[in-house]
């Protein structure tokens, strides 16, 4: 099992996500993330912790097929929406171009 994430680590994710929102390209939402995964444009997929298990495994399966990393966000879709600076809930999102952020490399080293 993954070790329990400390508050400091989750802040890092939020900060990096904020940077992606400002300077990078992203897709918010289930339909668009699947589209980006199919075309191979998604570089990282972030899933909130309260997405239904079937949707979570479907997105993870697509990511497996396209060899894209998946990050399980330590928060609900409400919190993920707030982290993206949006006033709506975000259950699944895909980072297409990370801009000035280093979120993709940071997530991959964390998983290793």
């Amino acid at each position: 099992m993954a070790p329990k994430k400390s508050k400091k680590q989750s802040d890092n994710v939020n900060a990096r996500l904020g940077m992606v929102m400002k300077s990078g390209k992203y897709c918010l939402g289930y339909k668009q993330t699947l589209k980006s995964l199919r075309t191979g444009k998604a570089k990282l997929v972030i899933i909130s912790n309260n997405t239904p298990a079937i949707r979570k495994s479907e997105v993870e399966y697509y990511a497996l097929l396209s060899k894209t990393g998946v990050h399980e966000y330590n928060g609900s879709n409400i919190e993920l929406g707030t982290a993206c600076g949006k006033y709506f809930r975000v259950g699944v999102l895909a980072v297409i171009d990370q801009g000035d952020s280093d979120i993709i490399s940071a997530m991959s080293t964390e998983q290793q």
């Binding site: 699947l34 199919r38 191979g40 570089k43 097929l65 060899k67 993709i104």
Partner: protein, 112 residues
Amino acid sequence: LESYGDIAMGKFMKSGKVVLVLGGRFSGRKAVIVKNYDEGTTDKPYGHALVAGIDRYPRKVTRSMGKKKLKQRSKVKSFVKVYNFNHLMPTRSVFKGKLNLLMLYFLFIVGS
């Protein structure tokens, strides 16, 4: 192609991919992508694919059945259809045989 670690992002909806049909008359059937149109066409401005699949699966066969019965129960009815990517569920399996449209034409259209 931007990549992190040793992994490159990939398109996986390619010819030869085994998919499950998610809706319509053939929902639940297995099919193989023969030709994919990732960017769509002017007629269909969305990602879609021509798939060839199994309409009627062969029936179960036991040792006690005679040759004639075996032959009847081993029949497979196929279909050819164009599907939106949204209505296909990709799998990890890939069909490695030859898949070309000319072959499909002769087998399916002329033969029926």
